[in-house]
């Protein structure tokens, strides 16, 4: 992208003014239809495409009549074409997304200035290649959320940003005068230099005012623990790539914990195995509820969350971190073996604990890591310009609100009326505030109780910045001028502090003026915009244990759980986070990595518990905790600790657009300030009446709990997901292929030889897949896969082109979990093709199994005959009522599928075509790496690799040469182009006999 472009353009994106007309839709649509011309035809594109297919009936009813005289179609060119735009060619710009103190550096794909797809920014030092997590991927859809707040509202009347600004400036001076008495700002945690700068100014301008940051779910306990242990405010960053042995106390570091993508990358590097000679890391995991991380566990111990505290102490005393001798009657052998293993790997081991564990635990963990000399595997960094969640501050603020001490409260983001712990009664506290002012993306629970509601701009609509833990400055640049009126955090914060309404661009520039070197500012700035960052450093702090740990350790007291004294733990939803993505269809329909539940949540309990309660999946139960109760369906999961219940947060939103409202059950109702993550003891559960249907994309209502099926699965599993321990692998390197016998191949046909030109293929390393779901979402975004809603999912019609199959092996209470991503395998002898009566699915010479939507008449025979069941059918016209604005998220290079048409993974054929054409224009062949499929791009562990298997040097060929390579359902001899690398585990030999 040409750098010498003048900024006003990038900023103004003049050609996007059109979208400001979005409110009056009629005019907007007319304009949209006109502004973008066909081939690159944009906003209207999916519509026309769909319209086309729908009238095909009429126009094709006569043989050969594809195009009878069509309605006159208009081409409307630009008036002045912005020179960085070439119609039909996507542009990529660097930007970034903030989620709390986390930064996701992005590369945003723009079609004629319309962002359609985001991916990680490879160039960015703290980015993991192009990988992201599902939240980041799906955030593009929030930009086009039809339920976004579109206007500033004052009580019930609609007004404008300017009016709001005006009103505030009036009161501003008064507050300056009284030093901000009765003024408070409540924000989410953030790591933005500009915002921190403004926060400091705020503190100066209003000494008596208060600015509190609070997240419903945060790493606060970790920070606290570290602070207690080392006496300084530090943030631990894990370097799994340097760790050979990892002990995790309920840390879901490959799942919903912070820095998941980086963690996954590091972990994968330490685990990746190319030959039987390589070594791989070992993960010990102790947890109460089966987490995503458990997929990778070599040893998993099932233990209730509060017992873990005691367990940690046991370790602590083993390491001499505390001099209290613990009577631990559990798996002593386990402790011994693990301790031994950790000690053996001093400096190359790592102990982590989950954010839900109390600070005391983290104190001990931090200390132990120090004792083990793990300076490389975990580093501690000062919070540079980051503001983190501070619960106590928040609680204090709320009590002040209750006492009417707060007159004006600015809430920057968040949705605390919904998300604040129930005992705070935040809603009623808010009523006591004279002027509650809310800056939020949606009209939601909080907005409905605020005097002012100002819409938040999407991060791709305004400027912002961020700083990652290692001090790298990252800039968030807009891709599109605001679709609706609103402000972003910077603008609002600045307005509050200075009383004047400045655009985010100026604010960011101001901050960066002070950071970037004066002399070369302009070039440095341009460079940062191009690369998306400006390199900086934040050296790890030198740490040593301060104070006596024993005292803290004392606070950890185990307690005996029982049927009527249960433990209840709250987890972040892997799909909709703390509820902020509740209105995001992609995420709602994304299956939970472990439970495979979509569109809602359930109380997860162990089968033993279920028997005691005599409940089955979907039965409603009543969960009670000090006087408050909620009714919720249960879902029985293997590996759940007995006498524990886990609930995911974020569901049961009462005010959240057309998608998120009343989906699932609100766990926050039971959440208290005393025990925000783990309510240990005092929780009661009882069977209630009725059931609630739960849309689970696998094992139909726990179908495979049925004996017959369960056995069948266990017999099939070894061949489907091939697995061995590292030692077994070393002893017989060819175990993978030996699992099934090879049949002599006899055919009645002379088969087509795919031996010339490019031959596309894919390799998926099961040893790498953490089931993070990034591929599924990335695919959905790339290929315009529709969202079909709970009913349809319940009917078993989910549309995901790449799904992640999850199987349990072994003991139902202590299962081993395996994950297997399955998309179209592009069999060379594809059984789907021969059965299609109209040749709608055929094969290309370069080995793609293509699905021609516009030829398909929908007999569904191909799907029946697909042994992998990867084909997806449009049972209804799923895109019928997709709002125009959502259609702006559609990828113009992929057709929208109409009702009655089969669809499936195409190996991103549009990207292949693009690369082929690019190569042609540059007079060269396609090179390895030219084509990256959406799923590959998204994979944080590089488990998925796509390429030319006809080129022996390509990455994919290299992988397929490995001795762990195998075909799924090889006995069918379909010659799939997607092959798998078998899974390995690295158990501790000393523990195996016990396990």
């Amino acid at each position: 992208m040409n750098m010498d472009k003048n900024m006003s353009e990038l900023k103004g994106k003049s050609y996007w003014r059109s979208l400001n007309h979005l409110e009056n839709n009629a005019e907007y649509r007319k304009f949209a239809e006109s502004e973008f011309q066909e081939g690159a035809s944009e906003v209207v594109d999916p519509v026309t495409r769909r319209k086309f297919l729908s009238i095909m009936g009429a126009s094709m009813a006569l043989a050969g009549l594809v195009s009878c005289r069509r309605p006159v179609e208009k081409i409307i060119p630009y008036v002045t074409k912005p020179e960085e735009i070439t119609l039909g060619i996507a542009k990529h710009y660097a930007s970034a997304m903030n989620l709390g103190v986390e930064v996701f550096p992005l590369l945003v794909e723009n079609h004629e200035g319309r962002p359609t797809k985001i991916a990680g920014n490879k160039q960015h030092p703290t980015s993991n290649e192009s990988a992201l997590n599902p939240w980041a991927y799906a955030s593009i859809l929030n930009l086009y959320d039809p339920d976004r707040a579109v206007e500033v509202s004052y009580v019930d009347e609609k007004t404008t940003v300017e009016q709001f600004a005006g009103v505030w400036t009036k009161n501003y001076d008064a507050y300056v005068a009284n030093q901000g008495e009765g003024l408070a700002v409540l924000s989410e945690s953030f790591a933005s230099p500009s915002l921190s700068k403004i926060k400091d100014e705020f503190a100066q301008t209003f000494p008596k005012a208060r600015w509190v940051a609070y997240d419903p779910v945060s790493d606060e306990n970790i920070y606290k623990g570290v602070e207690i242990a080392f006496g300084q405010k530090l943030r631990p960053i894990y370097h799994f790539d340097k760790a050979n042995v990892i002990l995790s106390f309920e840390a879901d570091f490959l799942g919903t914990d912070s820095n998941m993508t980086q963690n996954a990358k590091g972990f994968a590097e330490a685990r990746r195995v190319k030959t039987e000679k390589d070594s791989m890391n070992r993960l010990y995991l102790v947890e109460s509820s089966l987490s995503q991380t458990s997929v990778m566990a070599d040893h998993r111990l099932r233990m209730s969350s509060n017992e873990i505290g005691q367990f940690v102490k046991t370790f602590a005393s083993e390491f001499g971190v505390i001099n209290e001798s613990i009577q631990y009657d559990g798996r002593r052998d386990w402790v011994k073996a693990v301790v031994k293993d950790l000690k053996k790997n001093k400096g190359h081991s790592l102990i982590v604990a989950g954010r839900q564990q109390p600070a005391e635990v983290h104190v001990l963990v931090a200390a132990m890591n120090l004792v083990l000399g793990n300076q490389k595997t975990v580093t501690y960094h000062a919070f540079d310009k980051a503001v983190v969640s501070d619960s106590d501050g928040f609680y204090a603020l709320v009590s002040d609100m209750n006492q009417g001490k707060i007159e004006t409260l600015f809430m920057l983001g968040g949705n605390l009326v919904y998300a604040a712990p129930t005992d705070l009664q935040f809603a009623s506290a808010l009523n006591k505030v004279k002027h509650p002012i809310y800056l939020g993306t949606h009209y939601n629970e909080t907005a409905s109780r605020s005097e002012w509601h100002v819409p938040t701009l999407h991060y791709l609509e305004a400027w912002g910045d961020a700083i990652s833990h290692d001090g790298v400055l990252t800039v968030t640049q807009p891709m599109i001028s605001p679709l609706f009126m609103g402000m972003n955090f910077l603008e609002m914060a600045n307005l509050i502090t200075t009383g004047e309404y400045l655009k985010s661009y100026e604010l960011v520039r101001k901050t960066w003026d002070s950071i970037l070197p004066m002399d070369i500012f302009e070039s440095a700035w341009q460079k940062s915009l191009h690369n998306g960052y400006f390199s900086g450093t934040n050296k790890p702090a030198r740490v040593s244990v301060k104070g006596n740990l024993n005292t803290f350790a004392k606070n950890i007291k185990p307690l005996k759980l029982g049927v009527d004294n249960l433990e209840l733990s709250y987890k972040l939803s892997p799909q909709i986070h703390d509820g902020r993505y509740a209105n995001n269809g992609w995420l709602q329909e994304l299956p939970d990595p472990v439970t495979k539940i979509t569109w809602g949540n359930a109380a997860i309990i162990s089968s033993t518990m279920a028997k005691k309660l005599d409940v089955e999946n979907q039965d409603m139960v009543k969960i009670e905790y000090d006087g408050i109760y909620m009714k919720v369906p249960v879902w029985i999961m293997p590996g759940q600790a007995d006498y524990t219940i886990s609930l995911t947060l974020g569901y049961g939103r009462s005010v959240s657009g057309r998608i998120g409202t009343d989906i699932g059950f609100n766990a926050t109702l039971l959440r208290t300030t005393k025990s925000p993550y783990i309510t240990a003891g005092g929780v009661k559960i009882s069977k209630s009446y009725g059931q609630t249907a739960i849309a689970c994309v696998q094992d139909y209502h726990g179908l495979d709990t049925e004996k017959l099926a369960a056995d069948a699965i266990q017999t099939r599993l070894p061949a489907l997901v091939r697995e061995a321990t590292l030692d077994e692998y070393r002893n017989e390197p060819n175990f993978t292929r030996d699992i099934t016998e090879e049949y002599p191949e006899v055919s009645m046909w002379k088969e087509f030889l795919y031996d010339t030109g490019n031959q596309w293929g894919m390799s998926i390393d099961l040893n790498m897949c953490t089931s993070c779901n990034a591929c599924t979402i990335a695919c959905q975004s790339e290929n315009n896969i529709p969202v079909i809603g709970k009913e349809q999912v319940l009917k078993g019609r989910d549309m995901s082109w790449i799904r992640i199959d999850r199987y349990f092996a072994g003991d139902i209470e202590n299962p081993e979990v395996v994950m297997q991503p399955v998309a179209c395998q592009h069999c060379e002898l594809a059984p789907c093709e021969q059965v299609c009566p109209v040749a709608a699915t055929t094969h290309t010479e370069d080995g793609l199994n293509t699905m021609t939507y516009n030829r398909c008449i929908g007999t569904r025979y191909c799907s029946n005959n697909c042994p992998y069941k990867v084909r997806r059918f449009n049972f209804h016209n799923y895109t019928k009522d997709t709002p125009d604005i959502v259609q702006m998220a559609m990828n113009p290079d992929v057709s929208i599928r109409f009702r009655g048409v089969m669809e499936k993974c195409t190996f991103c054929t549009q990207r292949i075509a693009g690369a082929r054409n690019k190569a042609r224009l540059e007079d060269r062949g396609i090179m390895d790496g030219d084509i990256i499929t959406a799923c590959q791009e998204a994979c944080p562990t590089e488990a998925i690799v796509f390429g030319d298997i006809n080129d022996p040097k390509s990455r994919v060929s290299e992988l397929k040469k490995q001795n762990r390579d195998y075909d799924l359902l090889s006995e069918l001899n379909l010659r799939p182009r997607t092959t798998y690398l078998s899974k390995l585990r690295n158990p501790n030999p000393e523990l195996e006999q016990h396990a």
Partner: protein
């Protein structure tokens, strides 16, 4: 070979009650077409027609809303629609079998029932063809099945069993229609010649094509009829074999079986005779044809049911054996799952109705008892529908990858369309009873003793 079809019959009794003369045969059968239909007919017709309306309604909704209104899901891409298709096609087979195969084997008892057995075939095939048509996602593009040149330069894929189906069943329908009509010509002439009103004269006159019953015509007529029978026989066997290949050529465990074609054909004949039995008993009862359709006929049919039923039973057991013998875990599971999985109920309904029920026909008392025959025939119909359900749905619901297993539950629309197809079938059938001679008069006359020029009674007269 001697191409005289209606050899005089030494013992016409077993095919026809004694005491019939040419004119009484004509009278008894033609009367039905000429007189107002009885109450019962109106009653049945009313019911049938209202079901037909249900069909039209639900198909309309189906076209509007898409196949999503059915209970189909991802593993189970074919549900009741295909089940019904196979069910109806199967029914059809008895008709052709009776008229063509029994004809070639010189089974004279066929003459009493072949006419409406053939009619049944045609209407059954119509009901059958309905389903593949409506079950596709985009009905308006069905014409892509036809190999016609077009601007897309596209042609159908002749490797697809559905394509085979399209041709096989299409041919089957056409041939059955021709066969039926050819058989009708002499009887239409009879109705024409008895006609009182000019309207009837003209309509039946046109339909009869000016038939004069001259021997010069009979000669070619018989030859043609024989030819049609000869062509229809391999056809009828092939058609259901082809339908079987829809399943047999796929790779789904429980479908991928070489036994399917013969087993489907046996099943088809079985179900067909079941339906003929049901219909015969109804027609017999409405029009009091006890003398023309005698217990003898019914008994013979029940014997066929017994035989084919046992063949089907054999296949069921054989499937299990082969699955076990193949040692292929997927195959083995597919069958165990049928009998003991979540759909076990369906399997056992099928097994009881198709294998156990017919066994009662070892006893003559049952073979000759109208109520027993009726109930049994109903059971056969039910059982055979479930056989197709078991094959189609159960196999699909649990194939290779357990992750994709799911359970199929029909919606109201599945049910309405199915019931509706009965409406279509019976409406057509009742109209046939009303307006066309339901028994082949010419053929009946042909087997009367008097039909033989060398009959002793004539020689006395000399």
């Amino acid at each position: 070979m001697n191409n005289k079809l209606f050899k005089p019959n030494r013992s016409a009794e077993e095919s026809l009650a004694p005491g019939y003369t040419f004119s009484t045969v004509t009278e008894d059968i033609s009367r039905i077409v000429e007189s107002k239909p009885p109450q019962k007919w109106w009653l049945l017709f009313g019911v049938a027609f209202s079901f037909l309306l249900v069909l039209l309604g639900s198909v309309g909704w189906l076209f509007f809303e898409g196949t999503g209104i059915w209970g189909l899901n991802n593993p189970v891409g074919w549900g009741w629609a295909i089940v019904n298709f196979v069910f109806w096609v199967g029914i059809g087979h008895a008709g052709t079998l009776i008229s063509a195969v029994l004809f070639l084997f010189r089974q004279q008892w066929r003459t009493a029932i072949n006419r409406f057995a053939e009619a049944m075939t045609i209407f059954a095939v119509i009901s059958a063809l309905l389903f593949p048509t409506i079950h596709v996602g985009r009905v308006w593009l069905l014409y892509w099945f036809f190999p016609v040149p077009n601007q897309m330069a596209m042609w159908p894929n002749f490797r697809s069993p559905l394509m085979w189906d399209f041709f096989a069943v299409g041919t089957y329908f056409t041939v059955s229609l021709l066969f039926w009509y050819v058989g009708l010509i002499p009887d239409l002439a009879t109705i024409r010649d008895r006609a009182k009103t000019s309207f009837r004269k003209i309509t039946y006159g046109i339909l009869a094509l000016g038939w004069r019953g001259g021997n010069r015509q009979w000669k070619h007529y018989e030859q043609a009829y024989l030819m049609l029978a000869g062509l229809a026989t391999p056809l009828v066997l092939s058609v259901h074999s082809v339908v079987a290949t829809d399943f047999a050529t796929s790779i789904i465990p429980g479908w991928h079986t070489t036994i399917f074609p013969p087993y489907f054909v046996a099943g088809a004949i079985f179900s067909g005779f079941g339906m003929v039995m049901t219909l015969t008993l109804i027609a017999r009862n409405i029009y009091h044809l006890e003398n023309i359709i005698t217990i003898g006929h019914l008994e013979k049919m029940s014997k066929v049911i017994l035989v084919t039923g046992s063949m089907v039973g054999y296949s069921y057991i054989m499937e299990f054996f082969i699955a076990w013998y193949s040692g292929n875990q997927f195959e083995v599971f597919a069958f165990i799952n049928r009998a003991f999985g979540p759909y076990a109920w369906a399997y056992w309904i099928m097994f009881f109705s198709n294998v156990i029920t017919p066994q009662i026909f070892w006893v003559k008392k049952f073979r000759t008892s109208i109520p027993v025959l009726f109930v049994a025939s109903i059971f056969v119909n039910i059982g055979m529908w479930f056989e197709r359900f078991v094959i189609t749905v159960i196999s699909l619901s649990r194939d290779f990858l357990p992750s994709s297993w799911d359970y199929f539950t029909p919606t109201i629309w599945d049910i309405l369309v199915f019931l509706g197809s009965f409406g279509l079938f019976f409406t057509l059938f009742l109209l046939f009873l009303r307006f066309l001679p339901m028994v082949a008069m010419a053929e009946i006359k042909g087997i009367l003793p008097e039909a033989n020029p060398h009959h002793e009674k004539y020689h006395e007269t000399h």
